[in-house]
């Protein structure tokens, strides 16, 4: 970055993002980022309108922000999606921050000011779950920071032969090694056998109705958890699959033989062989069973491995299943003016899945 000492820069201002600003923000995004999940400006425009102005949690006090320069041009944007949650049974407001972007020709303090305005908002908890190192430092400077536990990622090998030869080829960066070892890895996987099904458990389709009705009882022991209703979940799940870039979404509820709900899972069956887990919710004593069903289901889909973000309630079951933990993905960042809310997150007494942050969004 080059300093232009001697050039006098006029300060800009921040105001709420309005529907009329969409074309300018689309242009800004196409200038700031090379890649988009949307092939045309019109498609991206429709998506921005849907996510920021038609989401079921719209709240005028928790809106997205634009930074306007002295000439009245929009040169910065920070998307905000409000979400509902409960803390110790009481409703709280969560604001998910996403898509911070600033015109490279007009940087100045725009991104800092946008983030400061966002983190000064009336929410009880600010949350971001696809953050890079620069965002992490910005949140830290503004009083927030990473939730280290939830910034861990897990990978569960389902076909160990293929998984580890793929990993070896990736680490050694030897072209063709994966293909060369393919017969051996397939033989290893055939000898190892499959992921056994869980006895006495039944799998049924997971619906928004079921999720909304049963989340409080499944996660009754968790202090901070999302508050779902059928309508918003339907909207969310529809948008999760809209762009289809992650593969087919599988949504499954797990019941005991007596019909009692043990939990559920949702994951993308990805074509590259590693599925991405969106959410796993389970009763405290059934997380191992629900994970086992998930792994069996994914194994039957011919996946090589499953990957997800650590939910504290799943940690011991993931350890027992031999999942690998790593800290090499995006950061989960949190900020709150309520110390007790932050303490719950850092203690692992919070359920904030990929469905509850920005991960599901596809810009």
């Amino acid at each position: 970055m080059t300093l232009t000492a001697g050039v006098v820069r006029a300060m800009g201002s921040i105001r709420p993002f309005a529907p009329d600003d969409i074309p300018a923000v689309v242009a800004l995004r196409r200038k700031a980022f090379q890649h988009s999940a949307h092939p045309t400006a019109e498609a991206l425009s429709d998506y921005l309108e849907e996510v920021f102005f038609r989401n079921p949690w719209r709240d005028a006090a928790l809106g997205s922000l634009v930074y306007v320069d002295a000439q009245g041009r929009i040169v910065g944007f920070l998307g905000v999606v409000p979400r509902q949650a409960t803390f110790q049974g009481q409703p709280i407001r969560v604001a998910v921050g996403t898509q911070l972007m600033v015109d490279r020709d007009a940087r100045g303090l725009a991104s800092f000011e946008l983030m400061k305005a966002f983190l000064s908002g009336p929410q009880d908890l600010a949350f971001s779950d696809v953050a890079n190192d620069l965002s992490r430092r910005m949140w830290e400077a503004l009083g927030g920071g990473p939730s280290l536990l939830q910034s861990l990622h897990w990978t569960q090998p389902l076909r160990r032969g293929r998984f580890y030869t793929g990993l070896l080829a990736q680490r050694l960066r030897v072209r063709g090694l994966g293909w060369g070892l393919r017969p051996l890895s397939w033989a290893v996987d055939a000898l190892a056998g499959g992921w056994a099904s869980a006895h006495g458990l039944e799998e049924v389709p997971l619906t928004p109705t079921l999720m909304a009705a049963h989340l409080p009882e499944l996660l009754g022991h968790v202090k901070l958890r999302p508050r779902y209703d059928e309508g918003s979940l339907r909207w969310l799940l529809d948008h999760l699959v809209t762009t289809g870039r992650r593969g087919e979404l599988h949504r499954v509820a797990v019941r005991s033989a007596d019909g009692a709900l043990a939990g559920w899972y949702a994951y993308f069956d990805n074509a590259d062989g590693v599925g991405q887990v969106v959410q796993v919710a389970a009763r405290r004593d059934r997380s191992g069973d629900v994970l086992h069903c998930l792994f069996h289901h994914a194994w039957r889909q011919r996946l090589v491995a499953l990957a997800g973000r650590v939910e504290p309630g799943l940690l011991s079951a993931l350890g027992a299943s031999g999942a690998l933990l790593s800290r090499d993905g995006p950061w989960v960042l949190v900020q709150s003016r309520r110390p007790e809310v932050l303490a719950a997150v850092h203690r692992g007494d919070a359920f904030l899945s990929r469905l509850d942050g920005e991960w599901w969004m596809s810009f």
């Binding site: 970055m1 300093l3 000492a5 001697g6 050039v7 820069r9 303090l109 000011e113 430092r137 910005m138």
Partner: protein, 86 residues
């Protein structure tokens, strides 16, 4: 300017030259208008204030004018430490 503020200003000048690698010609140079302090460097400055001066600035006190010049920042630090003033 008090001796305490003067001392803070000298240490702050080192932060700018050594840690932030920003050349500040004079204590009253406008860091914002001249483009010397952008978002990334502002973040680094706040993190350095915490590290070097044990000063964590609450978000509600982060008025941009407190960071407009080296002199203003030194004054802000001194006041926050309780040893500023005329």
């Amino acid at each position: 300017m008090t001796a305490a503020t003067q001392s803070v200003q000298s240490e702050l000048a080192l932060v700018f030259t050594q840690d932030l690698r920003i050349d500040v010609p004079a204590p009253d140079t406008d860091l914002l208008a001249t483009g010397r302090l952008d978002s990334v460097r502002m973040v680094e400055l706040l993190l350095q204030l915490e590290k070097r001066f044990d000063l964590r600035v609450p978000i509600e006190d982060m008025e941009i004018d407190h960071f407009r010049s080296l002199a203003a920042i030194a004054e802000f630090i001194a006041v926050r430490r309780g040893n500023g003033g005329p």
